[in-house]
């Protein structure tokens, strides 16, 4: 589904990604871990199409097409979903407000019929249960005055509404207490099928107790320096990142 080949990216003359190689197949869950500043969030943003980052080398193939040629909304319509680490607050715009347009844009690009108000509401009701989110919250200004847990639940709710092929969860566990973490993780797990894939970007192993990855990759200095199974995550939790840093820095 996704083939990342030797990906380099920079922001404002600073190189952040220095040759990422990664292949993700349908039905898989990949965790991207790594110390702060290793490029995890940059990778997530580059895949979603954020324009602040400039790709200087390499390629990304998504469903056989050149992902880097697509603009942000095309990627979203073709099934890429980024759950933001810091969801923006937008005064005056409610989730319900923009989500109907979003859902119908995505449906249209898949050749599905647009949902009318009734069908949209029905879908909303169904997905609201999944992340235990209240309708009142969805009618309020987006993320304004939301708690950390509400913001992340809202992200996963939107994911449920849009039904992405490739979901990228950027530090979705940050700022969550254990209950919120469970709810968010349950939501993600419920959305998992054999046809879609998930990238879980996280600093801690904690989230991976709930969303069990098929593969774990460690990012350091803009490269994947180690890959393994979920056992690698346990090892990292126990030993921290320093031994990996030392290992890598020693070979350099």
């Amino acid at each position: 589904m996704l083939k990342i080949n030797n990906l380099h990216a920079k922001v404002e003359e600073k190189n952040i990604l220095n040759g990422i190689d990664l292949e993700i197949k349908a039905g898989e869950v990949h965790a991207i871990m790594g110390p702060n500043g290793s490029g995890k969030s940059t990778l997530a943003s580059v895949l979603a199409g954020k324009e602040d980052y400039e790709v200087t080398e390499g390629s990304v193939e998504y469903d056989g097409a050149d992902l880097l040629e697509m603009n942000v909304e095309e990627r979203a319509r073709k099934g890429i979903f980024l759950a933001f680490q810091y969801p923006v607050e937008i005064p005056g715009v409610s989730t319900t407000n923009f989500l109907k347009t979003a859902v119908n844009q995505v449906r249209e690009s898949r050749g599905q019929e647009a949902l009318d108000a009734v069908a949209f509401l029905k879908l909303m009701k169904e997905k609201m249960k999944l992340v235990e989110i209240d309708q009142a919250l969805l009618s309020r200004s987006l993320n304004e005055g939301f708690s950390g847990g509400e913001k992340k639940r809202n992200e996963i709710f939107q994911m449920a509404m849009l039904g992405p092929k490739l979901a990228i969860l950027d530090e979705t566990d940050s700022g969550l207490d254990i209950d919120a973490l469970r709810i968010v993780a349950n939501g993600v797990n419920a959305l998992k099928t054999k046809d879609n894939a998930t990238i879980v970007v996280t600093h801690y192993q904690r989230l991976l107790d709930y969303i069990v990855p098929d593969f774990v990759h460690v990012l350091y200095k803009g490269r994947i320096v180690k890959s393994g199974t979920k056992d690698l995550a346990f090892e990292l939790e126990k030993k921290g990142y320093d031994w990996i840093k030392e290992e890598v820095d020693a070979t350099v």
Partner: protein, 402 residues
């Protein structure tokens, strides 16, 4: 000398504002008036038959008072006998009582030259249910139209009223108008006052005045929505002359093309224990320009005043101009006052967020702009009026033509 003669005399002395005039330095109205004969005759008040005109004029139910090119139109107005309160002519006594002179030359011009207008007076304790809707319709072919209208509202003790002023300049008619509304909101009374300019006229020069005097425990709310117009200047003066007053002022201006919209507001706290709140927002597109000049005075006797002011602008191109000038003059020492002002582009992070959900740039942009306007539009308490403005804004922001 009569009220008018005195005003004319003063106007002759002051003349139109020069380039050096502090109050008009960003709005060169005098220059724009060069082609208009200020002593010209009243024009005809024929109304053309245009599709959709009734909807443009009568979208909101209420007591309609219509002026065509500055002349009262009995035909288009509601039957005055159905107006449930006093409505009469502006006599010399009323003018002297309710219309104070101020330093603005255009106000003097309005004083001396107004062709029509009325005095409206609610009964004590009367809650007027349907709004009074004053429409200023401008239309005609040929030379420029000049129009001067003055209305006076006295909202008597413990009564309440909603007043709408709609400005409709058809067919890109060339028009210069001064229009003033003088309001006295008496003890315990409440007035809501809405002003709308909704036509994309590129030949309209408008100078409007709202002169408000608030008495004890009164409420006054003003929402001024100027969507477009060649040169629009809204002057708003609110004098809080007693304790316990509250004032809410909201404004939205969205000029496009080479148009220019200027809001000049003055809130004068003269006595203790009153509060005012002001929010003006602008979206400036193409090569247009906008002005916000917000003066707040807190006089020595106005202790324990709360006065807040905020002005926010979104600049859609690199060729627009905004002049934002907050001006607080505080003589009392125990007060809470604040003002803030921002000008910038649409937030990139918000645009990215919405596009990452599948909205295209145009949709995301329109949604954010609409949200920006809603903070002002939602302050309009007359639902049909609010919905109409919402609809016009939606079309306008999705892309200009309406």
């Amino acid at each position: 000398m009569t009220f008018r003669e005195e005003a004319l005399e003063r106007f002759r002395q002051t003349g139109l504002p020069s380039k050096k005039s502090e109050a008009y330095k960003y709005s060169p109205i005098s220059g724009a008036l060069k082609n208009i004969d200020l002593t010209g005759d009243a024009r005809s008040n024929e109304v053309p038959i245009i599709d959709g005109l009734p909807e443009r004029l009568f979208h909101t139910e209420g007591h309609h008072i219509v002026f065509v090119n500055g002349n009262f139109s009995r035909e288009l107005s509601s039957d005055y006998r159905q107006i449930p309160f006093e409505a009469g002519n502006l006599t010399e006594t009323f003018l002297r009582q309710h219309c104070k002179y101020n330093e603005d030359p255009f106000a003097l011009l309005n004083h001396s030259s107004f062709r029509s207008g009325f005095l409206f007076k609610t009964g004590p304790g009367q809650q007027v249910e349907a709004p009074v809707i004053i429409t200023h319709l401008f239309s005609g072919n040929g030379g420029p139209i000049q129009s001067h209208v003055k209305n006076v509202f006295v909202v008597q003790k413990n009564s309440s009223i909603q007043v709408v002023e709609n400005f409709v300049a058809l067919d890109n008619v060339e028009v210069f108008d001064t229009t003033s509304l003088h309001c006295t909101v008496e003890e315990g009374a409440s007035m809501e006052h809405y002003i709308t300019h909704t036509e994309k006229n590129t030949n309209q020069i408008h100078v409007g005045f709202s002169n408000v005097v608030q008495k004890k425990d009164s409420r006054y709310r003003n929402v001024t929505v100027s969507l477009d117009g060649k040169m629009i200047r809204n002057n708003l003066y609110v004098n809080l002359e007693a304790e316990g007053c509250h004032t809410d002022l909201y404004g939205l201006y969205t000029p496009t093309g080479k148009n220019h919209i200027d809001n000049y507001t003055t809130v004068d706290h003269r006595i203790a224990n009153s509060s005012s709140n002001e929010l003006y927002k602008g979206i400036i597109d193409d090569q247009a320009s906008g002005v916000f000049n917000g003066r707040i005075f807190v006089r020595p006797d106005a202790q324990n005043t709360n006065a807040f002011q905020s002005n926010k602008n979104i600049l859609l191109t690199e060729n627009v101009t905004v002049h934002a000038k907050p001006q607080l003059e505080i003589w009392a020492d125990d007060v809470k006052c604040s003002h803030g002002c921002t000008s910038g582009q649409l937030d990139d992070a918000s645009l990215f967020y919405l596009c990452a959900r599948g909205l295209n740039k145009q949709q995301a942009r329109a949604l954010l702009l609409k949200a920006f306007t809603s903070e002002v539009i939602n302050e309009i308490n007359i639902v049909p009026l609010r919905e109409r403005l919402d609809k016009i804004l939606e079309t306008k922001l999705l892309k200009d033509v309406y």
